[in-house]
Amino acid sequence: MPFQTLRTWFEKKPSVEPPRKDRSQLSVGIARVLNVWSTHQFWVGFLKELGISSENIVFSSDTSEEQGREFGKGRGTVDCCYPVKCISGHYGELVFGQKKKINILLSPMIHSLPSLLHGHVVDTVTCTRVMAGPETIKAGFLKERDVFAENKIVYASPFVSLGDRHMVTEQLFTPLRDVFDLNLEETARAVQAGFQALDNFTAKARQRSRDILTWCAQNGKPCILVLARPYHMDPGIGHEIEGELQAHGYPILWLQYLPGDDDLVNWLFETDLKMGRIKNPFDISDVWTSSYSSNTNEIMWGAKFATRCPWITCVVRLSSYECGMDQPTYTPSQKIVEATGTLYFKFGDLDATKPSGGIKIRVETIVHYLSKYSEEIIQRKLNYLSPNCPLADIAARQQPSFKAVSAPAAAAAEALTAE
């Protein structure tokens, strides 16, 4: 197998510009889990720049019960986090379930994340359990025999702070240089290409969200915002609950890709800025002071965005069983959202072993309230805002007599101080 090893790396002593290495035969498998759900394109861009061909970059499929049964059975490890537990199925699928065998299993331990709120919050780190998930799971594949070695797969799990771009090259170079036979320059290039690819995708998704909001604004129609962690987009983790609502005719936004354009956020947060309650539209210090966790920060900001944005008439919260990170955010996010009468529904404890509730009945319940109250909610929230909406001409729809200056902000603050 044409597979670069430690030996070849040390033998080569490049004096000038090294020739581009041929990695076209190398196949890399990536577990489609956890925060890979928000850093996907970084890994694609990074690997492609290293010369891995597109068809040789393999993502495991979406999480599913079948995947767990077929590939993960008996390799489970003790972990209270269901999304982490599911990784064994993904690893198993990458090791045993590929037509063309992979050479490298890449499962990064992502320590921090790029974030729209970067610079306005204390930090953008990830949940430690999620970050260390690969460490827990690999044990199930090493415990008795080294399953990776047996299948001639190199297991690579670099620790990487994607939220601190300047650190990433170093962090990936050290653990991966033997795996891919890297040098520092090409690693730096690949990291740059990775961020480029990720930024492109994120920008595209944010624009799509803005398009949806624009359509809502022009037509006076409601949409739904999902407050969840990025991996709840995985059908096996989030169970496509938001898809059931979408099927009733409501566009769905996710907090991860809310538009952060100046014109829009300045309009939504105008009053708060004027009052000096926040310094910047992305400032969440008024509601969440210990702003370390990236996903948690964004959930709180998403709640603030939703309570102000007229066309988001309903927020759906998804949370996996016993998520310790989500626990302290339940009440604050709910109170913030409900401060302007925006509907809030939580699907908590997903995948708990205990029974919870029929999803169909709950979805029908939500749809009932959406159809009953959306119009009223849009109207009420429009009245809180200035007529200079960047999305559509709304002045005609507003009822100036109701134009309370800071009702949402005050209500939200009140709700929180009550906490």
Binding site: G74, Y257, G358, T365
Partner: protein
């Protein structure tokens, strides 16, 4: 004395190595030394092994104790004293098993932890074993051995909180299927088609088995599927990342007695080893590496002997049976009083006050004083709380709400002023069209010249019948219940509906249902269980509450799994608790099962302060009392009310929704009494109507109704021309309401069209974020 029933056991024939030791035991030299006895007091049987001081087996036996553990142990000890000269003050005795803790100290014995005991026996008898599965009546354990000789270590995993994967799980269902234990033990696993049986809960497995049976699946296949479920549950929950390596030892009653279970283990382990490329010792095939020793039952008792031998001579010296006799005759009854708690009420005044507020004699929720007398019930429509029926045939315009449930269909008529004018019901006969006709005949008789100005339906039938009846509002159950609850108690925070087979908890916030819990996976906490126990005690339903209130004390039953609750009840009976007291105990734990076990609500504070109780089970006043006490113990300032129209809440709520719709200018599409009466339909029940979504293959029926403007089903295997509407019945789950793949395609295409028109950002991520080619 029933000594002749003791099973006499041949010398241990477990392993060639062990055999030798046992053969040697036949020499008489052991007799001179102090004997040592191991007793395993399990959840269903007692076992003993008597050995000489140098570990040679002298005698062993097992018997079912029928929940009389102490009595059976006494019987054993007397037998051992008489026949084997077990001598107090000289010989030693060691106990293990669930009943060991209470009994051992009474006879001077020492308790050895079960797993330690089993592991010791296995290490001695089968040094090459790497994995042990012991399945008991109410628990399951696995032991992994790693390393060799001095570095040998073991990892133990066990669970005993749920019936899934245990012996009870199989036996309970077998009893229901009327399979004798003898036949069950000979039934096979291999060669049968397997069906999906819930491996998690014994009560649901029973329900699954019933469904399979109804669908014509053979008893043999059902039992094979049960074996599959047990092995799956053991492997899924108790291996945690470890591969069971050869050799394997299967212990415990179920593993020993059920041939089919052994086959299931062999099948699964061999498959696992093939997949994981586990090498077999030369010349051995995988199935020979899985052993079930003939005396698999005795390993825990045998292990007690092994552990005992390593203990100092002064430990566990047998003290004779005096204390044990005292315990059986007196002690355990005193214990009963100590362990139990007071009855359902503190003093007669408290009970009287409770009854005055909630009771009004019948306790069935139809009176107007169901604890709602605090004046907080909305007063404006007091007539709703006490139906005033004008003479039949003289009602004015009405709004009709129908609730098509799984067992009954109900209808109510409200006046535009929200007065409840009429209510009626029809027992469901499996044909919703006939049920509807029956309801509307009753409504027509009641309203006479009156007119239906709006119609709403809720319950499972809402989607089926909407078009056929011309209903204006199909109302989801939660909304219907919330509307009815909020109408009477506008400040309610929570509606708790405990029916016969399910528990629904609706949490309200600002007048909207924000959270909803439905217990449908686990039988814990529902009313059918309570009813079942009452029936067993031959207490009529209507007397249940009064009998429970008669109890001055009651046993503390354990929350959780209904299967274990049943055996817990037998235990409590044995301790001398009477039917009344046990019923009281059951009522007392019902709130725990409802709120904590089934509802998952550990913190009621976050739910709110005002609670509405409804559903059939709350017609039992004793349950209402325990619910009220439970809620108040969590939230002293809480207010608990019983819905005045518990049974009709769904229909009333639907009618209220329809009324609101009408007030907003809705004009009814109700087809009219004549049209409903004249509804003509044809029923098809054939191979083409069988459901194929899952292996249960329900024999459904299609009821096709002639209806102007209906689309028909050209694509169906039972084609339907336009002008006809189809209603599917006799399906056992919601999936069966979808005819087949053809309909799925049609429905999916519709959903896709909607989804394309209303985008979802997650779809963009799912479709594009993992793309490797340039985007």
């Amino acid at each position: 004395m029933s000594t002749d029933r003791l099973v006499s056991i041949e010398p241990l024939a477990a392993d060639p190595v062990a055999m030798k030791t046992v053969v040697a035991a036949e020499s008489p030299r052991g007799a001179s030394q102090n004997k040592i006895c191991g007793l395993d007091v399990g959840s269903t049987t007692c076992k003993y092994v008597l050995a000489s001081g140098d570990s040679h087996s002298l005698a062993q036996a097992y018997e079912r104790h029928n929940t009389k553990q102490a009595e059976k142990v006494l019987e054993f000890l007397v037998h051992l004293e008489t026949h084997y000269h077990l001598t107090p003050g000289q010989d030693r005795i060691f106990f293990t098993g669930s009943g060991a803790g209470i009994i051992a100290p009474l006879v001077g014995g020492k308790v050895i932890q079960e797993v330690v005991a089993v592991a010791s026996a296995v290490e001695k008898l089968h040094p090459s074993v790497r994995f042990v599965s012991e399945i008991g009546g109410e628990d399951m354990k696995t032991i992994f051995f790693t390393g060799e000789a001095s570095t040998k270590s073991k990892q133990v995993l066990m669970q005993s909180a749920c019936s899934g994967g245990t012996g009870t799980f199989i036996e309970k269902t077998a009893r229901k299927l009327e399979i004798s234990p003898e036949r069950l033990s000979k039934m096979r696993y291999e060669g049968y088609t397997l069906h999906k049986v819930s491996s998690k809960c014994g009560i649901f497995a029973e329900a699954d088995a019933n469904t399979l049976l109804k669908a014509g699946v053979s008893v043999e296949e059902i039992i094979a599927s049960l074996f599959e479920a047990v092995v799956y549950q053991n492997l899924a929950t108790l291996t945690r990342g470890n591969t069971p390596m050869p050799e394997i030892l299967l212990l415990g009653g179920p593993n020993l007695f059920f041939t089919g279970l052994q086959e299931a283990w062999r099948h699964h382990l061999a498959k696992l080893w093939r997949e994981r490329k586990v090498a077999m010792p030369e010349g051995k095939d995988p199935t020979s590496m899985i052993r079930v020793p003939d005396d698999a039952l005795y390993y825990a008792a045998q292990g007690c002997v092994e552990v005992g031998l390593r203990e100092p001579q002064s430990t566990g010296v047998y003290q004779g049976t005096d204390k044990l006799r005292w315990w059986i005759e007196e002690g355990q009854h005193e214990e009963k009083k100590k362990l139990g708690r007071g009855g359902l009420w503190k003093d007669p005044q408290e009970l009287a006050a409770f009854k005055a507020r909630y009771g009004n004699g019948d306790g069935n929720g139809h009176s107007n004083s169901n604890g709602n007398g605090k004046g907080s019930a909305k007063d404006i429509h007091s007539s709703l709380a006490q139906p005033v029926l004008p003479p039949i045939g003289k009602l004015g315009p009405v709004v009709v709400g129908c609730d098509f449930g799984s067992t009954t269909a109900k209808a109510v008529c409200l006046s535009p002023e929200k007065d409840l004018l009429f209510s009626c019901y029809a027992l469901s006969r499996g044909n919703p069209i006939e049920d509807a006709k029956s309801l509307f005949r009753q409504v027509r008789a009641a309203i006479g010249e009156g007119e239906i100005v709006a119609l709403a339906i809720t319950g499972y039938g809402k989607d089926l019948l909407k078009g056929i009846l011309g209903a204006d509002c199909p109302v989801v159950e939660t909304i219907a219940h919330a509307a009815a609850g909020l109408h009477f108690f506008p400040d309610a925070d929570c509606i708790c509906d405990v029916g016969g087979v399910d528990v629904k908890i609706m949490i309200l916030n600002n007048g909207a249902v924000t959270d909803f819990r439905l217990n449908s996976q686990c039988s814990s906490g529902n009313g059918a269980f309570l009813q079942g126990v009452a029936e067993r005690f031959q207490i009529p339903m209507n007397d249940m509450a009064d009998r429970a209130f008669e109890a001055r004390a009651m046993p503390q039953l354990s929350m959780g799994c209904g299967v274990f609750l049943q055996s817990d009840i037998v235990n409590q009976q044995r301790k001398g608790w009477q039917a009344d007291e046990i019923l009281a105990g059951l009522c007392a734990i019902l709130p725990l099962n409802v709120w904590i076990y089934a509802g998952g609500l550990n913190n009621l504070q976050q739910v709110g302060k005002k609670y509405i109780l409804q559903g059939g089970t709350h017609k039992n006043l004793a349950v209402v009392k325990t619910q009220v006490d439970f809620i108040l113990s969590k939230i002293p300032e809480a207010e608990v009310v019983v819905h005045p129209h518990s049974g009709e809440a769904g229909a009333i709520g639907a009618a209220l929704v329809a009324l609101e719709w009408r007030e907003k200018g809705g004009r009814t599409a109700f087809r009219g009494f004549d049209a409903i009466e004249k509804l003509s339909y044809k029923t098809t029940t054939s191979v083409d109507t069988v459901c194929h979504w899952c292996p249960v293959t329900c024999q459904r029926s299609f009821i096709d109704v002639e209806l102007e403007g209906a689309k028909g089903r050209e694509w169906s295997n039972v084609p339907l021309s336009s002008g006809w509407e189809r209603v599917i019945v006799n399906n056992s789950c919601p999936k069966g309401l979808m005819e087949d793949l053809n309909e799925m395609k049609v429905v999916k295409a519709g959903i896709e069209r909607t989804k394309n028109a209303f985008p979802n950002i997650a779809d963009l991520v799912r479709k594009e974020a993992f793309r490797r080619a340039a985007t």
